[in-house]
Subunit: 337 residues, 2 copies
Amino acid sequence: MVLNKRQNDLLKIIVEDYIKTARPVGSKAICELLDCSSATIRNEMAYLEECGLLEKTHTSSGRIPSEKGYRYYVDNIMKPKELTGEDMLKLQTIFSNNSLMLNDTIIRSMEIISELTSYTAVVLGDDSSLNKVSKIEVVPLDENKLITIVITDKGHVEHRNVVMEKNVPMEEIRKTVELINNLIVGTPIDEVSSKLEFEVKPIISQYVKQHEVLYKAFYNAFNNFASDVSHETPFKLKGTSNFLNEPEFSNDADKIRKIVSKFDDNNIVSSIKEEDSGINIYIGSENSFDDDVTVIKTKYKVNDGEGTIALIGPKRMEYDRVIALLDYIKQNIDKNS
Amino acid sequence: MVLNKRQNDLLKIIVEDYIKTARPVGSKAICELLDCSSATIRNEMAYLEECGLLEKTHTSSGRIPSEKGYRYYVDNIMKPKELTGEDMLKLQTIFSNNSLMLNDTIIRSMEIISELTSYTAVVLGDDSSLNKVSKIEVVPLDENKLITIVITDKGHVEHRNVVMEKNVPMEEIRKTVELINNLIVGTPIDEVSSKLEFEVKPIISQYVKQHEVLYKAFYNAFNNFASDVSHETPFKLKGTSNFLNEPEFSNDADKIRKIVSKFDDNNIVSSIKEEDSGINIYIGSENSFDDDVTVIKTKYKVNDGEGTIALIGPKRMEYDRVIALLDYIKQNIDKNS
DNA sequence: ACGTAGCACTTTGGTAAATGGAGTGCTAAA
DNA sequence: TTTAGCACTCCATTTACCAAAGTGCTACGT
């Protein structure tokens, strides 16, 4: 499929106009821009429709871009936009605030982007289930309560409160922790609970008097690390509602419900999986979140792990601006890590 | 305002019917139930409307309860319902699962309630800014990265990754931590950063060589505890979308938007503040969340802190059932803590 | 004094018809 | 290859209309 210059220009005009107004674009409005008559435009439009790049909402309506049309626009027509001074300024104040941890900086800056664009921002933390245990700490709180803290090699920290059925002398606890530390360090976090069961349990029961109650306490604590999904891949959502102001949703209660439900589910995590390290754009059915939206996302790496940031918006997203914004954040993350 | 028996019965019937059907209740449907003619019912209805307990949606519609009507119903008419076997069974399986931490049990059981009722569940953790520091741990990750972990007297754990600009010998770090521990333990968490500035800084700079870089690292870490709202009062939301299926919202895109926006804001935390320890019901304008909803909430206390659980639903909430459900959870929390 | 039958009146909600406007496709001419 | 012109299509909005549901009020009976 090859487009000549005029067809290219026409597609650009239609996509950008539709992105701006959310209304089907008619031939008349375009004549002046391309310096020819509406009939000519109509002919070209018909051709673009034949190519699958445009669609009509009904037989005599103006044209709107098809999914393929957006894709063509993004791949071949659009040029990433320069960030406006205003946008940049807002983000700059976040990144230049040294008292924020990088992680918080990322979350905060995605919040800003969400406000700026009125799309929904998603920040997916790293998947700690692949991390390996690097240290276990135990802090006694009072007679029969402990806090167990697990630190992984990538700096991920998990903790659990443990209530023991009986009081156990500190010395016993210390010994147990030492044993566990020796055996568990280096184990991927999602294998810990089975390793506890089959390797640690036999040994503890040999060396420790109150092994029953202690083992149970630790087992419960660790068992949780694996099963608690929300801790495995922490994520932040911001701006769920901005979204709903987009005209294509604003009057359609069913669509709103459908999309809000999807945000409500924790499946976002799985539908926003990261891929290669560039900025990836998934338009409509290309993403596994919802056919009516575009997901644009990118991976980032920081000293202590990696993650994904994403924006979810309507298919008629301001692609050029969003790419510039994400790119800016990505660069700043790299610089700061 | 005093109601005779028939008026009382009538209000009960109207409220419960409206809760069930979401449709204005007409006089004819009631005659059989109260064994009198529709005209009589209409007279009584007019009286209840005069009292402010009922409303009409238009001049010739049936009646719906007013806010005051719901309030009267809840205070004077409704009897808390027995839990059905089915509801109880579902919750029982959560509470009898010993491998879950109590905290997770609470969250899980509120999720169940959300599914059962199709209202939105909120779990507010305890406000750790009032906790006092009970211990500070530091785990070195590699040459210039540390993890600082702060444990409070109520078992709350916070942690931050710290990147130091230069490498600092372990011995220096150890000494610093010891000093900080001595000075900070017992300090409320939201006062830590000022105490660091004015009491700890002078002392560190005396005893520790690389005090500049170390102080900065710790200061940044602690400064965050106070400023990061989401960590201060952690909360979980479940079932935002269930809500939207209620008939009074289902066709009103504006209302949906309005309420979803409120869930999106973190203001929920402030609008769901706990009060006394019973089960509190806030109907419509009585709550600070939204005039179109009822918020029903209760405080719970557990070994390592306290929190609030709440349900947000339409004003025509199944009050009797919801109260029974919350009460059941509350009792189980008390039993298990 | 209370209850009720009857009736006129109001509002809603749904369906049908009428109308204007925006936009297309096609044809024929430049 | 472009364009003017025209017939046609579909949408959106307005208007009209009707049945259903329900009310308030009046007048009558006990």
